[in-house]
Amino acid sequence: MSAIRVRDLTKSFAGVDAVSGMGFDVDRGELFGFLGPNGAGKTTTIKILTGQLRPDSGAVEVDGTDPSVDPIETRRRVGIVPEGGVPPSFFTPREYFTYVSRLRGLESEIVERRIDEWAERLGLQDRLETIHTDLSRGQQQKVMIAQAFLHEPDVVFIDEPLANLDPLVQEQVKRQLADYVDDDNTAFLSTHNIDVAEDLCTRVGIVADGKIVAERDLDTADEPLLDVFLSTVDEAQPRDVPIVDR
C-alpha cells in the first residue's frame, strides 16, 4: 500500500518550472531517498507533499490525505524536518517539545515521557533547559528531528537528515530511522548527498529538472549509485560542470 502517491505534479515560480511532471510512489515500510542536485526541485516537492505549498497541477496523496486540499490534516499526521530549519530562538527544547505536543493534541503524561525518550536518544538530556540560541547548530538540528517524531507519525519527511550532526549522532539517527521503518512506517529523505542516500535508503528516486529521472532499489541494485546518478542527471539536466582529472 502506498504511503505517498504523486502523479503529474507541477509547480512554477514566476514562469520558471521548479517541478514539472513529477510522479512516484512510496510504500509503507520504505526509507525512500529523494536524491538530486541542487535546484532539482526536491525542496519544492517536499513542501507540496507536506502542505506548505499549493501545486499548480497534479495529484498528491500522503498517508491517505490530500495536502493540496487539507494541508493541516496532512501536517497533523506526518512529521517534518525542514532543511536548515531551526527551533524558535527563545524557547528551551523542553518548552518547544511541549508546545509542539500541545499543537498535536498529545496528553501531558505522554508528552513528558516522549520528551525524555527523545532527549536520551539524541543526547539532549543536559540541554533540555537551555535556550535554543545557546545551542550549537547540531543540537538545534537534533531538536528539529525530535519534534518531528514526538507524535509517532506514520510518515516523516526529512530534508537533508544528517546535516550538522556529528558522526556519533549520525549513527544514532540512522539507527532510529531504520527502526522507524521496520515498524511499517515511511521515511522520505531528501538529500543531494549520494553517500547518505546509499547508506540509509532502501530505494531512491533520482530527481533532475523537476522530475524523477530514475528509480533504484538499493537492496538489489548492483551498479554503484554514483554512476547511476551521474549518468541520469547529466542526461536530464546538462550542467556546465568542470571536468575533473582524478
Binding site: 507536506t50 506548505q52 497533523r76 530562538s89 528551551t92 537551555t130
Partner: protein, 503 residues
C-alpha cells in the same frame, strides 16, 4: 579543480600568480582590504534595498521624509512654535534614529535576523575573513552612517530648512542643517555601539540602562541639555567642531572597547510555556508561544511598555507647548486616547519580531490560525500597554468622566483599527515599513484619516458633551470593526500568498 581542456599538457602545476596554489597568500595591505570591503558593503546595502523592498521603490522614502519633515515644520512654525524649538525637535528625531541604526552592531541578534528573514549578510560572516571584526564593524557603521545620512538625514534637513524661510542663504543653511543633523544621528549610533561594547565587556543590561537614565537626568538637571540645544541650533564652526569631536570620540571609544570574541554565557531557563498557557483564558498554544517569546527575549515584557512610554512621555511633555501655542488645552482623554492608539503598531511589531510564517508550516496549524493567535496576544499585551499610560494621563490631566469614557473608547477602537491596518499592509513584517516608501505612505495615510480629525476634536470638544461622547464611541466602534475586517481578510490573504509560494 581544473578544466581538463585548460590544464597544462604535462600535468605540471603552472602558477604564475604569486601565492595561488601554494597554500600561502600574501596578505594585501590593510588599505586595500578596507577599500575592497567598503565597496562590498556598499554594494550589499544597495542590493538589500533594491531586492528586498521592491526594486527602486525604496527611493520614494526620502521624498516622503522630506514632505513629512517639511510639512510638520511648516505647520508648527505657522501655529507659532519657535523655529529653534522645531529644529531641536528634528534633531531629537535624528538622535533617536541614530540610536536605532546603531543596533546594526547587534547583527546576528534575533531582532535583525527577523527583520531580514533568513538572509545572511557580509557582517554575519566577518569572522571567516582575514580582517579584524572590530575594523569590519567600524566600516559597517561608517557605511550605515553615510547611507542613512544621504537617504534619511538629508531629506530631514531639506524638510527642516524651510523653517527659517527660503533665501539666497538657503543652500548654506541646508548644508549646515544636514551636517548638524548627521552628526547628531551618528552620535546616536555611537552611543548604541558604546552600549553594545559595554555588553561585550560583561556589563549587565540593567547597569547600562541605569547609567543611561542617570546620564539623561543628570544632563537635564545640570543644564547640559540646554548646552546641547545651543550646539544644534548655533550652526557655527565652533559648535560643529564640538559636535564632530564628541561624536568621533564616543564612536572611537565604543569601537575600542568592543570585544569581538565576547560569547555570552549559556543561558538556561525553567519551563515557562505551560505556566503561561495555564494563565491565559484561551487554550491556544500559539498564543502562549507568542507571549513566551516576547517575555524571554531581551527586555522581556517591558519592551512594549518602553515603546509606549516614550510616546507617552513625548506627548505629555509637549502638551504644555501645544497649549501655549493654541491657547486651548485639549480634552486629555480624547487627545491621549487617539495618540496612544498608535502604539498598536509598536506592540504588534514586538509580537512579530521572533518568528516567521514559514516557521509554522511544519506544524499542523493554518496561517490564519497563527494570525488569529497574534490577534489574541495583541489583545493581552496591548490592553495594559496602552491602557496604563492612558489611565495615568486621565488622572494626571484631570479628564472629565465623559472625556475619559470617550478617550477610552477612542483608545480601544483606534488600536483595533491601527492593528488591522498594520496586519493588512505588512503581514508578519511591520518593520519593513521603515524601508518601503509605498507601504509607509499607505500606513501614514490610514493613520492620519483617523487621528487628525480626532486630535482636532480634542481641541474643540473641551470637555465633550454627552452627544459628542456617544458620537466618538460610535466612531471608535466603527473603526474597530474596520480593523477587525482588515486583519481577518489580511490573514486569509497572507495565508494564500504563503501557499502559493509568493509571500
Amino acid at each position: 579543480m581544473t578544466n581538463a581542456s585548460e590544464a597544462p599538457a604535462d600535468g605540471a602545476t603552472e602558477c604564475t600568480e604569486p601565492g595561488v596554489g601554494t597554500g600561502h597568500t600574501e596578505t594585501p595591505p590593510i588599505r586595500t582590504q578596507l577599500a575592497v570591503t567598503a565597496r562590498a558593503l556598499a554594494r550589499e546595502e544597495w542590493r538589500v534595498h533594491t531586492t528586498l523592498f521592491g526594486g527602486y521603490r525604496f527611493l520614494t522614502m526620502p521624498i516622503l521624509i522630506t514632505l513629512f519633515a517639511g510639512g510638520t515644520a511648516w505647520l508648527l512654525t505657522e501655529t507659532g512654535t519657535a523655529p529653534d524649538a522645531v529644529l531641536i525637535g528634528i534633531h531629537v528625531c535624528a538622535l533617536a534614529f541614530g540610536l536605532y541604526a546603531g543596533t546594526a552592531g547587534f547583527a546576528g541578534s534575533a531582532m535583525l535576523e527577523d527583520v531580514f528573514g533568513t538572509h545572511q549578510f557580509l557582517l554575519g560572516v566577518a569572522d571567516t575573513l582575514p580582517l579584524s571584526r572590530r575594523l569590519f564593524l567600524g566600516l559597517f557603521l561608517v557605511k550605515d552612517a553615510l547611507f542613512y545620512g544621504c537617504f534619511f538625514v538629508l531629506p530631514m534637513a531639506v524638510g527642516a530648512v524651510g523653517v527659517s524661510g527660503f533665501s539666497g542663504a538657503t543652500p548654506i543653511s541646508l548644508v549646515g542643517q544636514w551636517l548638524s543633523l548627521w552628526l547628531v544621528f551618528v552620535g546616536g549610533m555611537a552611543v548604541t555601539v558604546g552600549a553594545i561594547s559595554a555588553r561585550t565587556n560583561g556589563v549587565p543590561t540593567w547597569a547600562i540602562a541605569a547609567v543611561a537614565l542617570l546620564a539623561a537626568v543628570g544632563a537635564w538637571a545640570s543644564g547640559w541639555l540646554d548646552g546641547g540645544t545651543v550646539l544644534v541650533t548655533a550652526h557655527s564652526p565652533v559648535s560643529m567642531a564640538i559636535l564632530a569631536l564628541s561624536t568621533v570620540l564616543v564612536g572611537a571609544l565604543a569601537l575600542a572597547a568592543y570585544k569581538p570574541t565576547h560569547v555570552p554565557p549559556s543561558r538556561t531557563a525553567p519551563e515557562r510555556f505551560e505556566g503561561i498557557r495555564r494563565l491565559l483564558p484561551t487554550d491556544d498554544p500559539l498564543v502562549a508561544k507568542a507571549l513566551l517569546e516576547l517575555g524571554r527575549s531581551s527586555g522581556g515584557f517591558a519592551k512594549p511598555f518602553v515603546s509606549v512610554g516614550l510616546l507617552f512621555g513625548l506627548v505629555a511633555g509637549s502638551l504644555g507647548i501645544v497649549e501655549s501655542i493654541t491657547g486651548v488645552a485639549p480634552a486629555p482623554g480624547i487627545f491621549f486616547g487617539g495618540i496612544l492608539g498608535v502604539s498598536a503598531f509598536t506592540t504588534y511589531n514586538w509580537l512579530t519580531q521572533f518568528d516567521d510564517v514559514s516557521d509554522y508550516l511544519v506544524l499542523p496549524v493554518s496561517v490564519v490560525d497563527v494570525f488569529r493567535a497574534k490577534q489574541l496576544a495583541f489583545l493581552f499585551v496591548g490592553l495594559p500597554t496602552a491602557g496604563l499610560p492612558y489611565l495615568l494621563a486621565v488622572v494626571w490631566f484631570d479628564a472629565t468622566p465623559l472625556d475619559a469614557i470617550a478617550g477610552g473608547a477612542v483608545l480601544v477602537g483606534y488600536s483595533g483599527y491601527y492593528y488591522g491596518l498594520t496586519v493588512a499592509l505588512a503581514g508578519f513584517s511591520p518593520n519593513e515599513f521603515l524601508f518601503d516608501g509605498g507601504r509607509f505612505a499607505a500606513f501614514g495615510g490610514g493613520v492620519a484619516i483617523a487621528l487628525v480629525p480626532t486630535l482636532l476634536a480634542a481641541f474643540v470638544l473641551t470637555p465633550p458633551s454627552v452627544l459628542s461622547t456617544v458620537l466618538l464611541v460610535c466612531a471608535s466602534a466603527l473603526l474597530a470593526g474596520v480593523g477587525f475586517v482588515l486583519s481577518t481578510r489580511a490573514a486569509t490573504y497572507w495565508a494564500d500568498r504563503s501557499m502559493a509560494g509568493t509571500a
